[in-house]
């Protein structure tokens, strides 16, 4: 009876939980070794001589190479074993495999095998096998081996003959033609094994190190020559290479390279210069990279014809693991590595780099839902469900988690350190104390947006096996890609694809004598105007190589056209190609040279970057203030929101002048426009004040004397509430500037906007105040100042009291009654609409705005986005490319109270995950502010996975003030007959916070556009940097043009101000960034 009850109950439960999910059989079925004949298992044996203590990559596992070695059109499989012998399985069809290792003579002779790749190295039309080894670490012997295919299912090891018999610390290798001379060259990926206590400076990568440095080998008629140095390939002692991907990233017809490096070393992005050399450009082209980079893969995920890159890391998804593991570096250490040692920005999570026209990459891992897949090794993009979009499979797991915090701090000491110091023996028991990392593999389904849906629980089984190297191939020629994983201490797995839907096209190539299978060949398909673009580089993922074919999935049965671009950059085309077939494509005679520029046109340039405007020599320098030193748990900095910039005709000569605000400790700068240059004014004493930080600067004639006065509102996150440095002032332009303090309490002013709201002929001011230093969460009053003939007086109205953490405001007649209304936005609050009724302001937001619009709003601008003649409002928010998660149902929460009762307030941020609210911060960070928690949680595992009530107690949370955010997406309020609905912008406007808007008819087509700018770096390494937004144009019919398409690129810069400057009759766009010189763009305003 009891049992039955439970069953009923669980049935009900299942029904409920599956309400939306259609019940489908899993896409993949794992075949048992007994079914396939594949019993290979990469079994590890820890010995005294070799274990995780002696060799840091002891748990990295083996690789898989798939290829048809006997040309029977059935892909065969080769597995490498670290300590066990390698295996070759011949595919006999129907998923039946035969172990022919012994007869084929390919078991290998190295003590420790790693990566494997298949390629026809000697150009005889038969796939050879190249196996990498680690040699020299703790007595490991052997060499990299090249098994040349004899054509009769036997092989002969001949690495030495080819000059490829390296005795290095190799991870894997990739064969491709780097110099476009027609033969296959090789990139050898090696890894360092030393674990020094100090980080060397980044530039030690330029000193070559034989065993750990990567190598580029040029194929000189069958002999491989090391050309690393002359080709510009780094090979330093700090290269922890774990992944190499080759592709033509910038579509110039030459193959480029992306190398993933573990630990503090940057990933390398080698652009092929086309003259047999490479230029490494990761810092220029990438805002940030994965830190513990492992495997990688490339694919065109957004179908724009440019190859995107996924580089894997080890961020856990599970709260219990996440909060018990070492996270990102503390901010200071992170900064030291970047500023003092010269490394790039790196954070611990998978990075999805979206290629923007070959010009730069946008990192969108968090937005795309691919950031956290725990200890990840191999990524394989492919269209597994044949719906025309790229999905991705990620292999994960580690036998022991050495980054477990309890192990490091509490367990290791008692268990191993003394043994280490004394005898260097490893105690098996000590290793057993380390928690295991048996994580099920991940698979994600691609979509039309940039978002990937986690299908791990639907498409594959949830076996907690440790998979390392992986490859895909259509093993049974049914047109659906199967996946092969090499597993640690468990038999290798064959994931048979059992999909039913969709259509496929598989292409293999026969190209030339020296590159028989046509590595480097590109194929482009068009179906209903949608492009799919693939390049044949079988070595990818991790230590592995996949089938020597290109595989496409389609929803419709016929492909409109198919372009084949051969490695020599010639093209042949096919039209109306039928799907559901595998084609072998051979070269046609008389092929045209492919014109990349035609298919991938250079974008129109609305904006043309220029060096500067003559005479302007201004660089904003942010002073080194760390808000987190003072309040360790605040969500972000508030001290780096400058500079404030003003463009206006200050001296009445009809020319634009420029006022640049500065950070604390620096004077503002004022430039007057002269005939053909700008001239820096020596600031009059009254304007000099380097103790303040200007937050908003306005020029208006406040006293109606015909001259522009200056309103300088001060802010900054370094001053306490009421501090004189926060005093807002007006400098009246009389014979000289005369200063007058505004009659309000000094606070962190964020915005000042003017309008004559009471129509008395004098401009009134709204001053919005933001979060205040040392008491984040306290809400200060904002002010409406009424101008009584040049004298200001605060308007008494409770709606402006404790208005919120205001960031922006705008006067706009939103109800079309001819009176200027006020709109205010801010962080942890909804947009506020104040209706002006004959000079009295009423908050009518509840009546005309949708509910649940609390956001981290940064900017607002009126703009008719749908050309219906009614004013809509564009809103800049935090964006969706963030670890913050917020929705109407599950808001992001911030609790504000004095939790430790020491007279100072704290904030605790919490997000919802699997039905529970968890703190964003880890235990160490929390303890840094709330020391009592260390006593409450003397071990990390006691803290990890606990919800906020269990951590902080119900009462203290109930007594705290709670702030919520329901929406992080930027978007717009669409005017529907005086009421508004909120619409999210599309994904490309969600990659970072949008902080500034500027309206103008940039392309001179008679319609106004809005330029949006953003990005924000005032965060801890937990968040990383929001650096991916290049800027975008929003047109009057709601279309989005990404910055790259118009000639803008604000990535890696924090936009703080955008202004038009008219100089000698020409309009320029001036963009000001935090801690940088401004950028100037000439606006090409010829009619289009």
């Amino acid at each position: 009876m009891k049992v039955r009850l439970v069953i009923y109950f669980s049935l009900i439960f299942t029904f409920f939980s599956c309400e939306k999910e259609e019940k489908q059989p899993p896409l993949f079925q794992v075949l048992e070794p007994g079914e396939t004949g594949i019993s290979f298992s990469n079994d590890l044996t820890e010995t005294k001589a070799l274990n995780i203590l002696d060799y840091l990559y002891f748990y990295n596992g083996g690789g898989v190479a798939v290829g048809d070695i006997n040309n029977d059109r059935l892909p065969d499989i080769y597995f490498t074993g670290n300590q066990v012998k390698n295996k070759l399985y011949l595919n006999n069809g129907n998923m039946q495999f035969e172990d022919i290792t012994e007869t084929a003579n390919v078991s290998g002779n190295s003590d420790w095998n790693t990566g494997v790749t298949m390629a026809d190295v000697n150009g005889d039309g038969l796939l050879d096998i190249y196996v990498c080894a680690v040699v020299g670490v703790n007595g490991l012997r052997g060499k990299n081996e090249l098994f040349i295919n004899n054509g009769d299912n036997t092989f002969t090891e001949a690495a030495e003959n080819f000059g490829l018999d390296f005795q290095n610390y190799s991870s894997s290798a990739a064969f491709f033609d780097y110099d476009n001379d027609g033969d296959l060259d090789m990139y050898l990926l090696n890894h360092a094994v030393h674990t020094v206590n100090t980080y060397g400076p980044a530039n030690i990568r330029k000193k070559r190190h034989e065993e750990s440095g990567d190598k580029l080998l040029r194929n000189d008629d069958g002999k491989f020559t090391d050309v690393s140095e002359e080709a510009g390939i780094y090979g330093g002692p700090n290269s922890y290479g774990l992944g190499v991907a080759t592709a033509d990233f910038n579509n110039d017809g030459y193959t480029d390279i992306y190398v993933s490096n573990d630990f503090h070393e940057d990933d390398y992005y080698y652009i092929n210069n086309g003259d047999d050399t490479f230029s490494e450009k990761s810092k220029e082209k990438f805002g940030h990279q994965s830190r513990f980079s492992m495997g990688s893969d490339v694919a065109d995920i957004n179908q724009d014809g440019y190859m995107d890159i996924l580089s894997l890391d080890m961020l856990p998804e599970d709260e219990k693991i996440l909060k018990a593991s070492v996270g990102d570096d503390p901010l200071d250490l992170n900064n030291m590595k970047i500023e003092k040692l010269g490394y790039h920005h790196q954070y611990t999570r998978n990075m999805m780099h979206l290629n923007q026209g070959g010009k730069y990459f946008q990192e969108i891992g968090l937005l795309s839902n691919l950031a956290a897949t725990d200890w990840s090794w191999s990524a394989l993009f492919a269209d597994y469900d044949l719906d025309g979009r790229q999905d991705v499979f990620i292999s994960t797991g580690i036998p022991k988690r050495p980054n477990d915090l309890d192990y490091i701090k509490y367990v290791s000491n008692e268990q191993i350190s003394r043994k280490m110091n004394n005898s260097r023996l490893v105690d098996q028991k000590a290793l057993e104390m380390m928690p295991g990392g048996f994580v099920p593999n991940y698979i994600f389904k691609g979509s039309d947006s940039l978002n990937f849906e986690n299908k791990s629980k639907n498409w594959i089984s949830q076996d907690s096996i440790i998979s390392t190297g992986t490859a895909y191939a259509d093993l049974n020629n049914n047109g659906r890609l199967d996946i092969i994983t090499n597993n640690l201490n468990t038999p290798a797995a064959i994931y048979e694809n059992q999909g039913q839907d969709g259509n496929f096209l598989q292409l293999s190539f026969e190209y030339s004598d020296t590159n028989f299978f046509g590595i480097g060949t590109k194929a482009i398909t068009f179906q209903n105007g949608k492009m799919q673009y693939k390049q044949l580089f079988p070595a990818h993922g991790f230590q592995s190589s996949s089938q020597m074919r290109l595989h496409f999935g389609f929803i419709n049965k016929t492909i409109d056209s198919l372009y084949i671009i051969w490695p020599d950059n010639t093209i042949q085309k096919e039209f109306k190609v039928k799907t559901n077939q595998s084609l072998k494509i051979t070269t046609e005679n008389n092929r045209d040279t492919f014109n990349y520029a035609q298919l991938f046109p250079r974008n129109e340039t609305w904006f043309e970057k220029i060096e500067s405007l003559p005479g302007i020599d201004y660089v904003h320098q942010e002073n080194r203030f760390n808000d987190f030193d003072r309040q360790k748990l605040i969500p972000y900095k508030i001290s780096n929101r400058g500079p404030a910039v003003l463009v206006a005709d200050l001296n009445g000569d009809g020319k634009d002048d420029i006022f640049f605000g500065h950070s604390k400790f620096q004077d503002s700068e004022l430039y007057y426009q002269k005939e053909d240059t700008f001239e820096k004014d020596s600031l009059t004493e009254v304007l000099k004040n380097n103790k303040t930080e200007e937050a908003a600067v306005l020029a208006e004639d406040f006293d109606n004397n015909g001259k522009q006065d200056l309103l300088i509102a001060s802010g900054g996150g370094e001053f306490f509430s009421g501090n004189k440095a926060l005093q807002d002032m007006i400098f009246y332009n009389k014979n000289a500037f005369e200063v007058q303090n505004l009659p309000i309490k000094p606070e962190n002013t964020s915005v000042a906007v003017t309008a004559d709201f009471n129509k008395n002929g004098y401009l009134d001011i709204f001053l919005g105040n933001g979060a205040i230093s040392n008491d984040f969460g306290a809400i200060k009053d904002s002010y409406l100042l009424q101008n009584n003939e040049g004298e200001f007086q605060p308007v008494e109205n409770k709606v402006f009291k404790e208005l919120g953490m205001v960031t922006d405001a705008v006067w706009s007649d939103f109800n079309d009654d001819g009176q200027q209304d006020l709109i205010v936005v801010g962080e942890w609050m909804p947009p506020k609409f104040f209706q002006n009724k004959n000079g009295f302001f009423q908050d009518i937001s509840d009546k005309i705005l949708p509910k649940n619009l609390n956001g981290l709003w940064q900017a607002v601008i009126p703009f008719d986005i749908n050309k219906d003649g009614k004013t809509d409002y564009l809103l800049g928010n935090w964006g969706l490319n963030t670890k913050f998660k917020a929705s109407e149902k599950n808001p992001l929460k911030m609790f504000y109270a004095d939790f430790d009762e020491n007279g100072h307030t704290e904030t605790i941020l919490a997000y919802k995950k699997d039905g529970e609210y968890y703190p964003i911060n880890g235990l160490d960070e929390l303890v840094g502010q709330l020391s009592y928690l260390r006593k409450k949680f003397p071990a990390y595992h006691k803290f990890a996975g606990k919800n906020i009530e269990k951590i902080f107690g119900k009462k203290p949370l109930e007594n705290a003030k709670v702030f919520e955010v329901n929406s992080l997406a930027s978007g717009y309020l669409l005017n529907k007959n005086g009421k508004f609905i909120f619409k999210q912008f599309e994904a490309e406007l969600q990659v970072a916070p949008i902080t500034e808007f500027l309206e103008f008819d940039f392309n001179n087509d008679g319609n106004q556009e809005v330029l949006a700018g953003g990005n924000y770096f005032g965060l801890t390494p937990y968040h990383g940097r929001f650096d991916a937004f290049p800027g975008a144009i929003i047109t009057s019919n709601g279309q989005i043009k990404s910055g790259g398409e118009t000639g803008l690129n604000f990535t890696q810069k924090e936009v703080r101000a955008m202004n038009l400057v008219n100089f000698r009759g020409q309009n320029y766009l001036m963009v000001n960034f935090n801690d940088k010189a401004p950028s100037f763009y000439k606006i090409n305003s010829q009619k289009r």
Binding site: N197, P330, N403, Y407, M420, D900, N902, P938
Partner: protein, 445 residues
Amino acid sequence: MKKISFIILGILLIGCETRQAEEIELSANDYHNTVDRITDIMVHDIFSPPVASRIYAYTNIAALEVINSGEKNLPALTPQLNAYKPIPKADTMANINFKIAALVAQMEIGKAFIFSEEKLVNYRDSLYNIWEEKNKESFKTSKTYGEKVAEHIKAWSSKDNYKETRTMPKYSVYTDDPSRWQPTPPSYMDGIEPHWSKIRPFMMDSASQFKPEEHPEFSMEENTVFYKELKEVYEVRQELNELGNESDEIKSARFWDCNPYVSTQRGHLMFATKKITPGGHWMGICKIASKKSNLDFEKTVYAYTATSVAIADGFISCWDEKYRSELIRPETLINQHIDENWKPILQTPPFPEYPSGHSVVSGAAATVLTQLFGDNFEYEDNTEVKYGLPSRNFTSFNQAAEEAAISRMFGGIHYRAAIENGLVQGRDLGSFIVKNFELTPVASR
């Protein structure tokens, strides 16, 4: 017959309840054991040296206060302590076993100050079970009194600014000043306890009372004192390289390392080597001396208390100067200017260089111990055996302090000035403690 005897036995057992209770005998060893237990937990929980010294001081003071409220046979120390109010009297002195009450007070304070309470509670409860079995009445009264004293000491300690300093701003590392301290390899930890000078001293009138003379002026010019001292650290390391691991210098450096958290990284694998702090080490020496002198329970508590107060004030005094001068560590400068790959024998601890904490604390502790146990007190120091280091022999506390001080240069973590001036600073403080406490010798020799 058998049945009957069972019944009789039963009656007898019940009768036991009313029988004359056994006096609970405690020896000095019981006190040593509790100090050791608290030390073990501190090592596990990873307390920095200043914080550890505070725990030693309060736990010992609590115990001494209980002892002194009994048959007062020791000079009182507490009236000299800053902001201290006398402990409450027990409702009745009858039936209180003051040694038990002292241990209860000591453990209650310990429990409040360490993190892993469970570990101390388990130990405490096993003692409580034994005592309760022996003499329930006496145990209960003693426990109640011990807890009452502990509450009193806790209230006093709660006003020493410790709690407030937990959440004061983090030490900012951003500077253009080349002489200013920077985080050091391999963990590049934040500067610890930058606000420790704001902790209320136990006896000093202020944290700066024993401000040492200024360190040689920072300069990277070759003929300056500072540069020569920097060069000396580098050269000593080279000499020691030649002498090898078995040299007495290296052995002494390791012996006096007293770094509670030395981290090692090997790829993704990280682990910690944990040891006692300088304060913990001198508590160990106090134990050795007490045992060697056969001190009774009461005098043992007295000796621990005087020593721990000297150490605690030593850290306040030392940290006051450390974050005043904010001097850069030799490792940072040598890496920057002389040898990029240079590594000291000891891991550089995460706080500014001047003066040497071990020198200050050793100077203070040795001065107090010399007063208590006499000069030329020979002993074998086996305090570090538990942490895998051999024992060493000393002819006096002062000799030990001098060795501890100079070992910091062998260890490559301090310049000479920090050692010499630190020792002076510590000894001055020690003499002040001796004088103000009117410390009397506890051992007749």
